[in-house]
């Protein structure tokens, strides 16, 4: 995915060896995005083929440097923003939307289950944050923040689904609430 651009960004200041790039990439991404060396070299080969990096093989190990067109491509990547459409297709959305097709009770069951699991994931992040308190690197903190905020967004959406389904159900059967 964005590994290409990630490696190019790490070459902005100075040329680097393949293995240096691997460790720099992993450090910058808070240790949650591991790369294998083979993946690093095959990506560098493709960048070289496309003229975005230059290879210096006079030393013991190959050194990679960003070319001018590499700099241009990287600049374009920094400036690019995610597009709003087409709508994101994630599995959680698909699951809930299809569950609604099978009726409100099934949909509510699915929502309950997914929400509990997400809440527990959030609780784990929170605990990790509390335990790391102060020790975590900035990049690790930012990675955890991203996980937390994404889980929160999914949970908010599930809450909205629940409220809307309950409201729709009420509207359809107004006498449903009181029966034992």
């Amino acid at each position: 995915m964005a590994v290409r651009e990630g490696l190019m960004a790490l070459l902005v200041d100075e040329p680097r060896h393949g293995y240096q790039l691997k460790t720099a990439f992993e450090a910058a991404t808070g240790g949650v995005w591991r790369l294998n060396v083979g993946q690093v070299y095959s990506t560098l080969d493709r960048l070289h083929r496309d003229g975005l990096v230059a290879v210096d093989d006079t030393g013991e190990q190959k050194r990679y440097a960003l070319t001018d067109s590499g700099r241009d491509a990287l600049g374009a990547w920094w400036r690019a923003t995610p597009a709003d459409d087409p709508p994101p297709r994630d599995e959680l959305q698909l699951k809930v939307l299809l569950a609604v097709e099978q009726g409100p009770e099934h949909a509510l069951d699915v929502i309950t289950r997914q929400r509990t699991a997400l809440t527990r994931a959030l609780q784990r992040h929170r605990r990790a944050q509390r335990e790391a308190a102060g020790d975590a690197s900035l990049s690790a903190q930012l990675v955890t923040d991203a996980l937390v905020v994404r889980a929160e967004a999914d949970l908010r959406w599930l809450d909205l689904c629940e409220s809307r389904i309950l409201r729709a159900r009420q509207g359809r059967a107004p006498s449903n609430g009181g029966s034992p």
């Binding site: 959680l92 309950t112 784990r124 937390v148 809450d159 409220s163 309950l166 609430g177």
Partner: protein, 252 residues
Amino acid sequence: MTDPCATRDRTRSPALEMVAVTKVYGRGPTEVRALTDVSLTVGRGELVAVMGPSGCGKSTLLHLAGGLEDPTAGAIRVDGLDVPAMTAAERASLRRTEVGYVFQRLNLVPSLTALENVMLPLELEGVGRRESRDRAREALAAVGLTEQLDRYPDDFSGGQQQRIAVARALVGERRLILADEPTGALDTLTGDQVVELLAELPARRGTAVVLVTHEPRYASWADRVVFLRDGRVVDEADAGAPPVGTAVGSAP
């Protein structure tokens, strides 16, 4: 051993115990079942969050736990004490000594200073003015307020007012804090601070907290999250339990 509480064995009782609690408002065609067969135990020092859509019975649950209303059926014990069996005076005393309340809307007394607001429950309980003042200062310091305590609630920001409300809820030796959407009108970081404060209480004083909130962010501070829907408990997320099933949500 001459512990006066030993007969009730209160030291071993959970902070809050609700067993098969049902609450029905009104009768006949206007009847509303706010809670149906709800059982919930909150251990000493535990932080439990309660979530659920609007109207699902969250506030009702807290009202019952605090003895503000009676259940239609079921048992409610706070620190081993049978709450529905108490007289009005005993309940009022319970709320000044054992159970602290932080409401959805701020309900500080506007004509009393911050310090006086926090002293109030102690003074009403007959604690002397000097001791009340010392303990109120202590509680305010615990929520990070040490200055300008002679100002009135309106002079403080929303976050500070909510801190004062938390201080008032915890002044004395509380066993249980009931917080109903205490982050209501606060921005995210201020809300974080108020919830962190509540989350630290268990560690600091062994006080149990029931936190009602809409926000998953705040609920995730809790040891357990209980989900209500239509007045029933539909699920529970326990931070201590081993993970179940496969992960869900947005993979990177």
